[in-house]
């Protein structure tokens, strides 16, 4: 096997597979667990870890001042993600744990729980089957820096930490309206979150410890502690303003929890840009290619190059060009696959735009094995498109392209001789847009993991959105 006679390349299926199955993150998690537990028999340990398959379960810590609504948010997140909620109360209230019984006695005597006892309770609880399988949400733990450090030392690391924050006055006022349902344990509020059913309304009780003074004291305590806890979770922390309606806070929390953090997995971007004419796809593709070294693949350009290069594909395509008919799918696929299978595309990644125009083409692209791993839909309203396209002009003498609004020609003389491309008239544009929107819905359904971007802004903003979409891992959507 000689490198010159039979050059070996890594088949492109391998990086695709690694990306799809998140192999890097899997190995990273496994190695972390190995390092933390250092088992005597590593192989059975690894086997059980892989069988547990719990890399993606929620591991969330929610911190916040009293009356910020963290228990409510925690319970809603629990229900939404079907995970387990752990608070100090329900850790102590466990029935089948001797440790919990000890903790209860201790609490009754001293009115607070020692740190070691709490951490041991948490450790024991997190080893149970349901926490391993469905994840956990810690509500209000750790309360002090010592607790945070102890939890970190035994190897329990959350993946997301949410800290709610609100001005103290708002919190004190809000706490006065707190009501608890004794049966379900859910927290309601007299103004913000009043239950609709009258039977629940009737059995709500006022909890203890909500007077202004007590709230102020608790807030003091909280501020003293939180300032030292937050630096312990530098990269996974998100502070959410709790001074908004509950639902908004919840949705912010949910979107944050569903994002994955950036990992160091090697990643070749294969980007697909969708959008109507004039949404700026070519511009964004050129910017991406320039910044990240991706190969800019414009379908129309490819075909024109084939025709110009007079290859055998070019000869096939030329009659269609002459008659101004659409080139059939099979030829396009062949040309495209030839380009995408070249070594530079595989190595550096590609940006494709102008290609699947309808569902069949999308299926064909998938079947060839060139699935994109980031898809962006650029949304532009109709008027913007018209504005962008109809005001394009070309200077025949210098060859410069001008736009009457965004890049006007400097002198009147140049402006006098500007010409417009006949394809840029409104009727043509309308026709092409109709064609695009006809296929848009199907394509949107096909590419479920696509990100929609508002392309009505200036190009660099749009570019930044696209960049963040490429660099951050795809959020996992809970069905």
């Amino acid at each position: 096997m000689d490198a010159t006679t039979a050059p070996h390349h890594i088949p492109p299926e391998m990086p695709q597979y690694g990306e799809e199955r998140h192999v890097f993150e899997l190995m990273q998690n496994m190695l972390e667990q190995l390092l933390i537990y250092q088992p005597k028999d590593p192989i059975p340990f690894m086997i059980t870890h892989l069988q547990q398959d719990n890399d993606n379960v929620p591991k969330i810590v929610i911190l916040g001042p009293p009356a910020s609504g963290k228990t409510t948010i925690a319970m809603w997140l629990c229900k939404h993600l079907s995970s387990n909620l752990l608070t100090m109360d329900n850790l102590m209230a466990q029935k089948f744990s001797s440790l919990a019984a000890v903790a209860r006695e201790h609490y009754q005597k001293m009115k607070k729980l020692s740190n070691t006892l709490l951490v041991r309770l948490i450790q024991e609880r997190l080893r149970e089957e349901d926490c391993i399988r469905r994840g956990w949400i810690l509500d209000g733990i750790p309360a002090t820096r010592e607790q945070a450090l102890m939890i970190q030392t035994i190897g329990i690391t959350p993946r997301h930490v949410i800290a709610l924050s609100a001005p103290d006055t708002v919190l004190i006022e809000r706490n006065l309206g707190k009501r608890i349902d004794p049966q379900t344990g859910e927290i309601y509020h007299t103004t913000f979150d009043w239950p609709p059913e009258s039977e629940i309304q009737n059995r709500l009780v006022v909890p203890g410890g909500i007077s202004e003074l007590e709230t102020a004291q608790k807030l003091l305590e909280y501020h003293r502690n939180i300032i030292r806890i937050l630096p312990a979770y530098p990269k996974i922390l998100k502070v959410i303003n709790a001074d908004q309606p509950c639902v908004d806070v919840f949705y912010q929390a949910l979107t944050y929890v569903q994002t994955n953090h950036r990992s160091n997995a090697p990643f070749t971007p294969r980007v697909l840009l969708f959008g109507p004419m004039g949404s700026g796809k070519s511009l964004q593709a050129a910017l991406l290619a320039q910044k990240y070294g991706l190969v800019n693949v414009h379908c129309g350009q490819l075909l024109k190059e084939a025709v110009a290069g007079e290859s055998k594909f070019g000869e096939l395509i030329q009659p269609y060009f002459q008659k101004e008919m659409a080139v059939p799918d099979s030829i396009i696929m062949k040309v495209l696959s030839q380009r995408l299978s070249q070594q530079d595309c595989i190595q550096r990644g590609w940006v494709l735009h102008g290609f699947p125009k309808d569902l069949d083409q999308a299926h064909m692209l998938n079947s060839l094995g060139y699935q994109p791993n980031r898809v962006f839909f650029l949304n532009v309203p109709f008027d913007s498109v018209i504005e962008r396209l109809t005001l394009r002009r070309l200077d025949p003498v210098t060859g410069e392209r001008y736009h009457l609004m965004y890049k006007p020609p400097p002198t009147l003389e140049i402006q006098a001789r500007l010409l417009q491309n006949p394809k840029d008239t409104e009727e043509q544009i309308k026709l092409k847009l109709d064609l695009f929107y006809r296929n848009f819905l199907e394509l949107e359904e096909f590419y479920r993991q696509a990100t929609t971007i508002n392309a009505d802004q200036d190009p660099y903003t749009v570019f930044e959105y696209i960049e963040s979409g490429i660099i951050n891992p795809l959020p996992k959507k809970v069905p």
Partner: protein
Amino acid sequence: VASRLSGRTSPAMGTYTYTSRPRALPCQRRRYRDSLTQPAEEPIHYGNIMYDRRVIRGNTYAVQTGPLPGQPDPIEIQRQQQAKRRALARKRAQEQLRPRTPEPVEGRKHVDVQTEIYLEEIADRIIEVDMECQTDAFLDRPPTPLFIPAKTGKDVATQILEGELFDFDLEVKPMLEVLVGKTIEQSLLEVMEEEELANLRATQYAYEELRNVELAEVQRLEEQERRHREEKERRKQQQWEVVYKHNETSQKVAARVFAQRYLADLLPSVFGSLRDGGYFFDPIERDIEIGFLPWLMNEVDKTMEYNMVGRTVLDMLIREVVEKRLAMYEHKEDQPPFVQSEDGFSGPRAMRESLMGDEFHEQSASQSQRVLQARDSLQRTPSNRRYMENVSSQERKLTEEEDDEQTERNISGRELL
């Protein structure tokens, strides 16, 4: 024989068969005496099977376990008993029915009387007469005479002499010709047949030889063909395996290279993430945070408390002194009130200096000594000079802050007064 026959069949079918050889009915009357040479007669069987008790009538499927033929049948016995009983009963009935003479009257007795014409002598003597009879003596059976039927018909004879009927030699020729000719023809035919058979066999052999040769040829060709094909298959298989191995190896190599490159950054990122998660921490930093700083804060707390206690005591002392002085001055009525006692409260330090008179020098000195001792104890424990300086500078700052607090407290104390 008959019984044997019956014995053979009856267990199988449950039926009873009976056969007997036809034989002459023996005469019941014996005329001649039994001869010793004659064989014994066969035992007498019942002749008629219709009246044979051993023949089962009716349904033969149910096995009848009747009594043995020698013994009397129980039904027979019953019947006989019944007959006896009936006879007895009949007799009794008849006796009862028969008219009898009536019984004699009392005192009388019946006597038999002859009422015939001629009387008869009833004597017990029975008249006996002897008579004899004799059969003829047995004779020997005479031999059976030969049976010669009478002669009927007439005897007649005739005689043919030689040469009278035909000439043998002439007559025999055609027959002989025919015979011989036929024989020779027959033999010729046989010989021809044999020759033909031999020819056939010869051609057969020749044909078989050819056929064998051809078969051998065919087999050889087949063998060759098979060997070629197998060789080709083997070569193809080998080549296919080589190609397969080639592909597999290249895939394995690619996979290994890919895995290495893909996970090249694994260890650094694992360590990085563990450090971010707080599992790996700087032990010195952690130790300082957990072990040293709380202790330090504790000690600072203690020192501050000591300071406060000292100042409070000092405060009390000052108050006592001032009260005493006030009292002293009030005693001396003509002396003006001590203005300084009220102004002096503004600066306790100035006050201290002014009040460090002879009487209270020792007390305040002891107080300041106590404070100094506390400071010394604090200074002795950290061996590091810089620490000491830091601590003492901190303390000085704290004491300065303390002084401000102290003035406030004094003012409040004064207000309370």
